[in-house]
């Protein structure tokens, strides 16, 4: 049993004389530092008192922060100064003991794991297999609710919006947009009628309609009828990351996304001319009905917003 003591780390009990240089404060003039710290503590105390006054009487946010912040700061500086200048300056040393155990102890652990594992668990292979299989299946099925219950499947929802054949263009308050509402060079954000108040209507269906001079419109093949009287309508969702393309530069006839500065031509099918957006903004085909209201010919021809795997 004598060996048992050798493996224990001895704890050193040391003494030092009070006048040992290690035990002296770092400050050359401790009395002065002490006075300085005392002033800090008194000021801190006053600040805390003022915080009470600020809370009950003044109640302005900045007075609360100023008083409690100054108080904490002063007390903190005082404590650091006390620790640094008035406490034993040292230096003190501590031995670093090896982290590793002895080779025999390591072998004992490996042996215990291996032997007990092989002998006590390993010999009942069938039981072990059943247990492993059961826990494995549990792990898989336990993940189901976590995965599946969290939300609906995307299915086709990313491919369609609420725009239909004949949808009226309405503003956020539900007012229909008439052909005389916008002057040349004006812009409005519109939604399909009936969806201006819905989550999806706001986030997915949002469209910018801009009236430009009819002579400016560059007509692309298949889009001859899409921009009656110079009214062009584009999905407001940036094809980069889905921010609303909210900046209209009238002089340059461009739409700019404020998030990452993608730019799109207004007169030419919202072609991307600058920035990271990969595709033009999808255009909403418009027509003007007999009463002069703007309506959509159909849904967008392609999914709106940023790219995703199934987009194709």
């Amino acid at each position: 049993m004598a060996n048992a003591h050798e493996t224990e780390t001895p704890v050193s009990i040391t003494t030092a004389r009070a006048d040992d240089p290690h035990m002296q404060p770092l400050a050359q003039n401790p009395a002065r530092v002490e006075a300085f710290i005392a002033i800090l503590f008194v000021l801190g105390l006053i600040c805390f008192g003022l915080f009470g006054y600020a809370y009950w009487v003044i109640a302005k946010p900045w007075t609360l922060g100023a008083t409690i912040g100054s108080g904490l700061f002063l007390i903190g500086v005082g404590m650091v100064a006390w620790g640094k200048y008035l406490m034993p300056r040292g230096p003190f040393v501590e031995e670093r003991h090896a982290l590793a155990s002895t080779a025999a102890e390591r072998d004992a652990m490996s042996d215990a794991l291996q032997n007990r594992g092989a002998r006590l668990i390993g010999r009942r292979k069938a039981l072990g297999g059943l247990l492993g299989g059961g826990l494995g299946v549990f792990g898989i099925v336990a993940a189901f609710p976590l995965l599946r219950s969290l939300g609906p499947l995307p299915k086709g929802t990313l491919f369609h919006t609420d725009w239909r054949k004949g949808s009226y263009l309405v503003d956020q308050s539900g007012r229909r947009v008439h052909q005389d509402d916008l002057l040349v060079g004006s812009i409005a954000t519109v939604y399909p009628e009936g969806f201006e108040d819905t989550d999806n209507g706001q986030a997915v269906d949002q469209v910018v309609v801009i009236r430009i001079s009819t002579t400016d419109v560059v007509t692309r093949k298949g889009r001859e009828t899409w921009a009656p009287k110079g009214y062009v309508a584009y999905s407001k969702l940036c094809t980069h990351l889905g921010c609303p393309v909210g900046l209209y530069e009238q002089q340059m006839q461009t739409l700019v996304c404020p998030c990452h500065q993608s730019m799109f031509t207004v007169n030419d099918g919202a072609q991307q001319i600058f920035g990271p957006a990969p595709r033009p903004l999808p255009q909403l085909p418009l027509y003007i009905d007999a009463e002069g209201y703007l309506r959509s010919q159909s849904d967008f021809a392609e999914p709106v917003g940023p790219g995703f795997w199934e987009r194709g």
Partner: protein
């Protein structure tokens, strides 16, 4: 009576009631040996060891202010008609989350201070973690045996960034909502599972209302719990493996030199906790941050100019801005590489390389030794140069997150700023590497620069003979005395006993 009192006192032993309490506790918990060893624990002194403390204490501030905020915040995305006291919003439709955030800022006494302190503490938290990590990297503190703690630390940083993002999204204001929209699109950009990922996280198409309670429970419970656990592990490993220290007189691989836990370090570090909390409170008092009542409720079709995320998201935003539009379309599938590369692949690679760096370095240098003495950044020129060039790359991306602001400021076109940033991001690491390496090598040769030259004293004897001799060294430099073990017992100065030696007792 006086006699009996003195007798009672004597019966308690030399340490009185305190000693009795310690005895009682030690009999049951066995605290005396470990407790005293812990009180004697040595903390090396260097300013850079304080960076991790800033992170720790700003986390304390985050917890304290965060608990206050949960008392008033309503984690619900339901739209309600605002009936509160903030006149500009009265009668408008806002989410319960936004309404409660505005009300707690403007009408709860101390609420605005708490919210601003919380936001500032978060920015400081992530910032100090990054700077702390750079300190550990450039001084080689992550080397064997501390690879595990490096791993824990990198994961803490990732969790801190994640929780910061979740937290500033919660008020459901216009700026953070735009950030959420971007986060949603980034999830969508992941190949194969992207749309499912986005739908499951948000409970459907963007934005919905399910995300508010989900993000809330992640932000206030799950992630803080994981951070607390990892933080405990981080500190426990630090105590177990003891601190690293810079080389110096008396400092070896076998010891730690510095000041003891009790009472020196505990005073300094508690004081520092108060300083961190105090500075955060002063920032919260005088420096406005995230005034959500000015931004307004998030509406998917609204946006404002010069929107930027919190600083720690800057490098991602910058990379997204300067990335060319390389959408990849083939076989009926789309991979929006202009999003996937900067926002998924790049941070994935970056954080993974940072995580496995200790193992990588060990493999390349074949250095399998234990290291408790730190290196100066100049000592290991290659590592420092690699770290500096990665920093340059990420920093340039960070700068690129304000291309629009820079273009405005310099009165130049956005296009030229964008092209310039693309060039800078690509060349910055390659320019930084050789420069950093050269500086390190030059500095290695400066080791003796600034050292005092020997003074020669020339004297003339009466005979007219000149004698030259080295002058005695001036005694105005600080000589650190040899380090001693922390003394357990202090004896009176007057005592003449010679018991200053070390006595070892078996326990």
């Amino acid at each position: 009576m006086a006699m009996t009192k003195r007798k009672q006192k004597a019966a308690l032993g030399p340490y009185g009631k305190l000693g009795q309490t310690i005895n009682e506790l030690d009999e049951r918990l066995g605290i005396a040996k470990g407790g005293r060893t812990f009180m004697d624990k040595i903390f090396p002194d260097h300013w850079s060891f304080m960076l991790g403390e800033i992170a720790l204490y700003s986390f304390v501030v985050l917890l304290a202010t965060g608990i206050f905020l949960t008392l008033y915040f309503v984690p619900s995305g339901e739209m309600v008609t605002y009936k509160g006291a903030f006149a500009p919003l009265f009668g408008t439709k806002v989410s319960a989350a936004y309404a409660s955030s505005v009300d707690l800022s403007l009408f709860v006494r101390g609420g605005l201070l708490m919210r601003q302190m919380h936001h500032w503490a978060c920015d400081i938290f992530v910032g100090s973690i990054v700077v702390h990590m750079m300190r550990v990297f450039f001084t080689g503190a992550f080397r064997k045996p501390r690879e595990t703690n490096w791993l824990v630390g990198v994961n803490l940083m990732i969790l801190a960034i994640t929780n910061g993002f979740l937290g500033y999204s919660l008020p459901d204001d216009l700026v953070s909502g735009t950030g959420l929209r971007i986060a949603y699109s980034i999830m969508e950009s992941v190949p194969v599972v992207g749309t499912y990922l986005a739908f499951f996280v948000f409970g459907g198409n963007f934005p919905g209302t399910a995300w508010v309670p989900r993000f809330f429970v992640l932000h206030v419970l799950l992630i803080p719990l994981i951070i607390l656990g990892l933080l405990g592990g981080h500190l426990a490993l630090l105590v177990r493996q003891k601190h690293t220290q810079f080389p110096g007189p008396g400092r070896t691989e076998r010891n730690v030199v510095g000041s003891p836990m009790f009472p020196v370090f505990i005073f300094k570090t508690t004081g520092f906790l108060f300083i961190v909390a105090g500075v955060t409170a002063l920032l919260g008092a005088f420096t406005q941050i995230n005034p959500i009542w000015q931004f307004g409720q998030y509406e998917a079709a609204r946006i404002s100019y010069a929107v930027q995320p919190d600083w720690y998201m800057g490098f991602l935003d910058g990379f997204l801005r300067i990335m060319p539009s390389w959408e990849f379309v083939a076989f009926g599938h789309t991979i929006p590489l202009e999003v996937t590369i900067p926002a998924v692949i790049f941070p994935g690679i970056l954080f993974n390389i940072i995580m496995v760096w200790p193992m990588l370095e060990r493999k390349f240098t074949k250095d399998n030794d234990m290291h408790h003495l730190l290196e100066r950044p100049r000592d290991n020129a290659t590592r420092t140069a690699i770290g500096a060039s990665v920093f340059a790359l990420v920093f340039m991306m960070f700068i690129a997150s304000s291309t629009d602001v820079i273009a405005n400021y310099l009165h130049t076109t956005l296009n030229s700023v964008l092209v310039a940033m693309r060039v800078l991001v690509v060349i910055a690491p390659f320019v930084t590497y050789p420069i950093a390496k050269r500086i390190c090598i030059e500095m290695q040769n400066w080791e003796k620069a600034g050292a005092r030259k020997t003074v020669n004293l020339v004297t003339r004897t009466a005979d007219g003979e000149y004698l030259s001799a080295a002058a005695p060294e001036a005694d105005d430099t600080h000589h650190e005395s040899e380090a001693i073990a922390v003394p357990t017992f202090l004896v009176e100065a007057a005592s003449t006993s010679a018991s200053t030696g070390v006595r070892t007792v078996e326990r």
